[in-house]
Subunit: 123 residues, 2 copies
Amino acid sequence: MPDFIYDKKLYYNPVEFAMDRIGGTWKMPILWRLREKKMRYSELKRDLPHITHKMLSSVLRELEAEGFVTRKVYPVVPPKVEYTITRRGERVIPVIEVIRKFGTELMREFGVKETGGTRGQQK
Amino acid sequence: MPDFIYDKKLYYNPVEFAMDRIGGTWKMPILWRLREKKMRYSELKRDLPHITHKMLSSVLRELEAEGFVTRKVYPVVPPKVEYTITRRGERVIPVIEVIRKFGTELMREFGVKETGGTRGQQK
DNA sequence: CTGTATCCCCTCAGATACTG
DNA sequence: CAGTATCTGAGGGGATACAG
């Protein structure tokens, strides 16, 4: 499996390439939430308690640029923006499910204990 | 899906937990190579042309500490050390296959071109 | 409401040198 | 052959302030 270049970066294998597209702390959580319904910026923000304003904004921009979500702006005041998952984005969902299932099993094996769910607002 | 703590770090979901165990540039490539045969340190080194001495060493240590590989030292001169995948490590293989397949598809869609395979030694 | 711009820290990963 | 230690750089991600 020879190396290859994308966006000026050298990759060694397809896994590395994939994880650069959908990895990081927030991309999968966002796609996961968009899997069944379009959401507004503020809805996503509310649904991802720990994400910062800056991260949500920049990650959405990346996901849009690489075709995993689309962005629809309503010219109203105050602004309204909806994010929708694309076909390409939908193809990430089963990948997330596999990793998620594996992670859940690992957690059990490692005896991970939850912190006692801060449900609504936290931080 | 409430948050939880492991090893003093706060996680938001199982995916994040999983990727902290098997993510990064080198963990999956190493497990992938060990999937069918045990390998010596130097064999792994040879098979992963871009990895540095330090990274191979430290990543193997982490994989061992979390039960994905075992390490067998032969008390000979010069030293001989063999790494073998564990049952837990084997359960990572299908996860890698899924990500790998997805990454390969993405690469095609993105029109990624290979750099003209430096095959054996490089760098 | 949605979004950008700064500043800053911390961790991953590479380069290099040294050891049993 | 296998492994550790030190230094360094790049970038992901957080806090905060400002703007249309």
